[in-house]
Amino acid sequence: MSEVIRPEILFDLIAYHLPASLRPHVMLAGSLAAAYHHRDQLIGGVVNTKDADVMIHPAGAIAECAAIAARLIEQGWRRIDKCYPRKTPKPTDSTDPDEWLMAIRLSPKDSDAYFLELLAFPQEGQQEIKRWEPCQLDDGWYGLPCFRYLGLTEFERQTAANGIAYAAPRMMALANLLSHPTLRPDVVIKQKEEGRTIMRAAKDIGRVLALAWLSDADTVRSWADSWRTALARRFPGEHVELGRRAGDGLRALLADADALDQARHSVVTGLLSGHDLTTDNLRVVGKQLLELAIDPLRRDR
């Protein structure tokens, strides 16, 4: 069950629990990073998450990821319930290969306040939006999710007061936008949110809308230049095309009342808990985001 907690406390706990030698190799991403960045705007200053997505640097360092996981386990970190090994890196039955390996999710030795989920940093050549990298630990095989567009988070990295690095919200927003060019109603969050089935795309693009909402219009306007630079450096050769279609999923979401309501449900039970936002509010934010940050990329040649 999730609990509310101040994101800066979670950051401090992570900094305290992580061995000092590992800290330079990790960068927090996802909802916790976003909550920390916007901590002053959270209702009550708290966030409803225990999930700390941790990206391991450098890119493609699967062996280093395994070594980091092994070291944490050696120091007493515990696998959470949904983290168990497979005997082989590929399915031995009809299981979907993408469902076969479990992500490495570890709680610190003496706290249940959060768990780390290890993500591998994608290599520049990765084409799949999401790839599972097999990772062998002492007791068997696990998986390291590797998201192509999260590679954008290497740009404009932020550093918390305690020295922990975290992804810039604007780069997480772009990664989420590019990861969902369509809504794909068949891809849903496994765990229902308050009894409601939520499309993965609705949740992730909803997160983008939440990040835009938490930023003012001037900040959102500045995203276009940041995105242009990051796309050109991370994806030279296809950056213009990526920029042109960055808003496809968002447009689809805005045109689908049910999907937009799923996005609303997801953000008001998560990052924007207590803000009492309506779908009309989110639609306005979406249009604002399109106009200020996404459409300028669309006009690039």
Binding site: D216, A217, D276, E291
Partner: protein
């Protein structure tokens, strides 16, 4: 027939009568038509503004109007004045085809009976001088603003030609407006002389404020994203981007004109726009802004469209003129601060 009560104060300058027995009623024994009715309603609204918590009602005889016409004018009037004033106003009118009573608190039959008993007994006080009472028109408003601005900026008297040029009104319209202001003794009773206000025109200001929405036609915008309103950010953007035909008014302009202006924060941004059709600048300012007619929603931005704006001719200015700024403050009900601004502007240099 003797009057049941004696008039407590009957003003010679108009036909209103107040009685201590009915402290919240304004009696006007006879109104000739629509124009008289509207003028009386303006005075009623003006009176209510002095006692914002009280109900006020107009009791009158309108022998040349029908009940439906009275109701129509009443409804129209209520739509152009501020809702917080309108909700406290009422009318009991004896029209030519019967009574019309707006007051929900009054029994219509009893109200009619009382009106028929009281109104004929009231004799209008003798008129020392016939004065035309009518609601200020938009053209009168334009002329008056030109004179007020000249007075606030200590510019000195203006010629009639200057007033025509600055207000965009025709010569006959300006002449009629000046005649009205002479009758009100807000300008000197002279002819063929340069013109200026004799003092701060409080009487006309009150009338103008009662009809502020219809005269100024403010466009109110809210941030439809649901974010906390941030007028300060909008102000910064407007000052930096300087969209064509847009001038900053309200509290920001008051601070520009009077650095000691006594108010913290910026509850909303007021702008004057000579760009009455083009709204591209607004979308660039923030695409989340949406026009609202809902009086319960607090706007983050209010735009006052103006077609003829002489102040815009002042090269390089970003600020609305002192008159628009003053009217903005009154719209915000910052009456004390508005008075301070007048004093600061008129202070001897």
């Amino acid at each position: 027939v003797s009057s049941p009560v004696e008039p407590e104060r009957a003003r010679p300058d108009n036909r209103r009568i107040y009685f201590s027995k009915f402290p919240k009623r304004m009696f006007v024994p006879e109104l000739q038509g629509k124009r008289d009715l509207v003028a009386a309603l303006v005075q009623l609204a003006d009176w209510q503004r002095e006692h914002p918590q009280d109900e006020r009602s107009l009791w009158t005889w309108v022998p040349r109007m029908t009940r439906s016409r009275v109701e129509q004018e009443w409804s129209r009037f209520r739509h152009v004045i501020r809702p917080e004033i309108a909700q406290h106003l009422g009318i009991v009118a004896l029209a030519k085809d019967g009574p019309w009573v707006s007051l929900s608190s009054e029994d219509p039959v009893a109200a009619e009976k009382e009106a028929r008993k009281l109104l004929p007994t009231f004799k209008p006080p003798p008129k020392e001088e016939p004065i035309e009472w009518s609601a200020p028109t938009s053209k009168f408003f334009d002329v008056w603003k030109v004179l007020l601005n000249a007075w606030l900026t200590r510019e000195g008297p203006l010629t009639a030609l200057q007033i025509v040029a600055r207000s965009g009104a025709s010569s006959p319209t300006v002449a009629a407006a000046l005649s009205r202001l002479r009758q009100r003794e807000e300008i000197a009773n002279t002819r063929n002389q340069p013109i200026e206000l004799l003092s701060f025109p409080r009487g006309t200001l009150r009338e103008v404020l009662a009809l502020s929405d219809s005269l100024r036609r403010p466009h109110r915008y809210v941030d439809a994203s649901g974010r906390p309103p941030d007028p300060q950010r909008l102000l910064k953007n407007v000052l930096e981007s300087r969209p064509a035909g847009i001038y900053v008014g309200g509290i920001a302009a008051a601070r520009h004109y009077d650095p000691r202006f006594d108010l913290n924060g910026l509850p909303r941004l007021d702008l004057v726009s000579t760009n009455v059709v083009e709204t591209d600048w607004l979308r660039k300012l923030d695409p989340a802004l949406r026009l609202t007619n809902d009086p319960t929603r607090t706007p983050v931005l209010v735009v006052h469209p103006i077609e003829d704006y002489p102040s815009a001719a002042i090269s390089g200015t970003r600020w609305a003129d002192p008159t628009e700024t003053l009217l903005d403050l009154h719209e915000l009900r910052l009456v004390e601060q508005a008075e301070d601004l007048v004093r600061a502007l008129r202070r001897e240099k």
